[in-house]
């Protein structure tokens, strides 16, 4: 394990940001701390970086107790949501900063900055100032700056949170490729489950200052530990007293074994997907079907259908909690 967090608690006044959190971050992997805003995931990342001191508990980084080490001596790279670009320095000087304060030889700094700017595709922007870059370019610069000092761990706090949707998608794919090249242990914070599922090897779902579940994305999606994880990680609807994924349900025109009769309330066509809101005797729920299925059934508001869980389907479901 590269990072071991044990029984860490942190309060800000009356607000409990972290409540007895223990997590192991595997070496070399890309781990996402996923959860809703205010759930404590950024605080956990900042505790790992040494930017916050936990009230209790310990943090080990590659076997060394780092709980009381200042951020300068933890060998971590940190990337902030709003880039934290050094505004008065050029892109090259930003990237060189960590090497300059370490008093590395000038030639080495120059070579390393060139390498890193190539890695993040900013070599033609070396002489520009951060204000002259787009958000995505600034974030790539911040990443190069953090990587320059060859940290043991790379920590990213909502790295794409301030970017527009298109750039976000490009950058997350790019981050995944970069990680496959560089292989530095990486932890990133996000509230976007799609982003976490797409990029991460391992998810740590955090809510209300506690770890709800840890595991690979597929496992967390298919075997959610509780209603919160089930609801947060993907779409859910309530059927027969359980929470299920709307795409795990089936609509049929004729009664089948285990099917409940229902009335279609509304049909929403979202391109390939069709969202069908239906009402059974017990539940209001929605079912996601393909356009072909919807056309074949001929569903429209008011039509009579049957809803069931298809036999043999790999169903993610948890008993609906209070």
């Amino acid at each position: 394990m590269s990072i071991t967090v044990r029984n860490v608690s942190k309060r800000f006044g009356d607000f409990v940001a972290l409540d007895d959190v223990s997590v192991d971050i595997p070496s070399g992997a890309l781990t996402a701390l996923l959860g809703p805003s205010g759930g404590g995931k950024s605080t956990l990342l900042r505790v790992i970086a040494g930017l916050e001191t936990p009230d209790s508990g310990t943090v080990e980084i590659f076997g060394a107790d780092s709980t009381h080490l200042p951020p300068q001596r933890r060998d971590v790279g940190f990337v902030f949501q709003h880039y934290a670009a050094f505004k008065h320095m050029t892109v090259a000087r930003n990237v060189a900063f960590g090497l300059e304060v370490r008093r590395r030889p000038r030639a080495e700094i120059k070579r390393r900055v060139q390498e890193l700017l190539e890695l993040v595709h900013l070599e033609q922007f070396a002489g520009r100032y951060p204000a002259e870059l787009s958000g995505g370019q600034r974030q790539r610069m911040a990443l190069a700056r953090a990587l320059a000092v060859e940290p043991k761990v790379l920590l990213l706090d909502e790295p794409f949170g301030a970017l527009d949707a298109q750039v976000r998608k490009e950058l997350r794919a790019w981050l995944r490729r970069l990680h496959d090249d560089v292989h530095v242990t990486t932890v990133f914070v996000t509230h976007d489950q799609e982003e976490a599922m797409e990029v991460a090897d391992e998810l740590v779902v955090i809510n209300g200052g506690r770890v709800e579940q840890v595991g690979p994305p597929g496992q967390v999606y298919d075997e959610p530990a509780n209603p919160f994880v089930m609801t947060f990680i993907g779409p859910v609807t309530r059927f027969g007293g359980r929470l299920v994924r709307p795409h795990d349900l089936e609509l049929t025109a004729h009664p089948e074994a285990g099917a409940a009769p229902a009335t279609v309330v509304r049909v929403v066509r979202l391109g390939f997907e069709v969202r069908v809101d239906v009402r059974t005797h017990d539940d209001d729920l929605w079912v996601q079907v393909t356009r072909a299925e919807a056309d074949e059934l001929g569903v429209e508001a008011g039509s009579r259908v049957f809803v069931r869980v298809p036999p043999g389907g790999g169903l993610a479901a948890v008993a609906a909690g209070g």
């Binding site: 902030f80 900063f97 960590g98 304060v101 204000a131 320059a148 000092v149």
Partner: protein, 262 residues
């Protein structure tokens, strides 16, 4: 129509309160050419007054730059008991009359008290001497650097500094390479205001200096003393010099400052 009226009012106000008095000082100064002005400013007493003014204002600038940046960091970056009180107290020197400041310093550092006596026995006279004058000037210009720098510190936030820490920069390196460049224009502005205030301070310095001609007489005290003694050319010449120094400093700051200072 309302716009024009507003402009007329504002410009008339400025004309009568600023442009006219300063202009008349300039006009009086050069009424008989530049020769008498140079003569008046090169008497031993005038030269000494100028030197002392530069010393006093310079001392106040150095002290208040260091103290001002430190205090601004303290009240913006730290939360502690009494922070709001400190924040409010910082404006006291602006609110209190400089004469009161001078009297207070005499009460604390005069020969009649413990502190003043103790220092005096060790050869350091504070009152009726340059140290007291520097103290008085520091006091009256105390908030200027803090109030210029604090809002900028607030605005830049702490993320750049935290980024510098994670990159291995020590507290001092972070201050020198990140914080200081970010606040530099606010700091220059605060220093200029402090310098202008220090050059022009009269009341507090008048009280603590004892007004000894050729010894503790600053430029402003020189102007007053010459004026009272019917030596108007010397009074005007020094007044012009003071005004000119202030204008040059302000202009230089404005010219040096990049347009899009970010």
């Amino acid at each position: 129509m309302a716009k024009v009226a507003l402009r007329v009012v504002a410009l008339t106000y400025l004309l009568f309160l600023l442009v006219l008095p300063v202009g008349i000082v300039f006009w009086h100064t050069f009424q008989s050419g530049i020769g008498p002005v140079l003569d008046a400013l090169s008497t031993p007493n005038a030269v000494h007054a100028i030197q002392l003014t530069v010393l006093v204002a310079g001392g106040a600038v150095v002290a208040n730059t260091v103290f001002g940046v430190g205090t601004a960091l303290l009240i913006v970056r730290h939360r502690f008991l009494g922070r709001r009180l400190l924040d409010a107290l910082l404006d006291l020197p602006i609110a209190v009359s400089p004469v009161v400041v001078g009297l207070a310093l005499i009460l604390v550092y005069g020969r009649a008290t413990g502190a003043g006596l103790w220092l005096g026995e060790r050869g350091l006279d504070v009152i009726f001497a340059p140290p007291g004058m520097i103290l008085a000037t520091i006091f009256v210009s105390l908030p200027l650097v803090v109030r210029a720098v604090a809002p900028v510190l607030e605005e830049i936030g702490t993320e750049q500094e935290q980024a510098a820490w994670t990159l291995g920069a020590s507290t001092f390196q972070t201050f020198r390479r990140i914080t200081l460049p970010a606040i530099r224009w606010a700091l220059v502005f605060g220093v200029v205001l402090t310098l202008a205030r220090g050059l022009g301070e009269y009341g507090a310095v008048a009280v603590v200096s004892g007004r000894l001609v050729g010894q503790t007489q600053t430029a402003t005290l020189f102007v007053e003393e010459r004026f009272q003694n019917f030596d108007q050319p010397a009074a005007y010449a020094m007044a012009f010099l003071l005004a000119a120094m202030a204008i040059v400093v302000l202009l230089a700051t404005n010219l040096l400052r990049p347009r899009e200072a970010a």
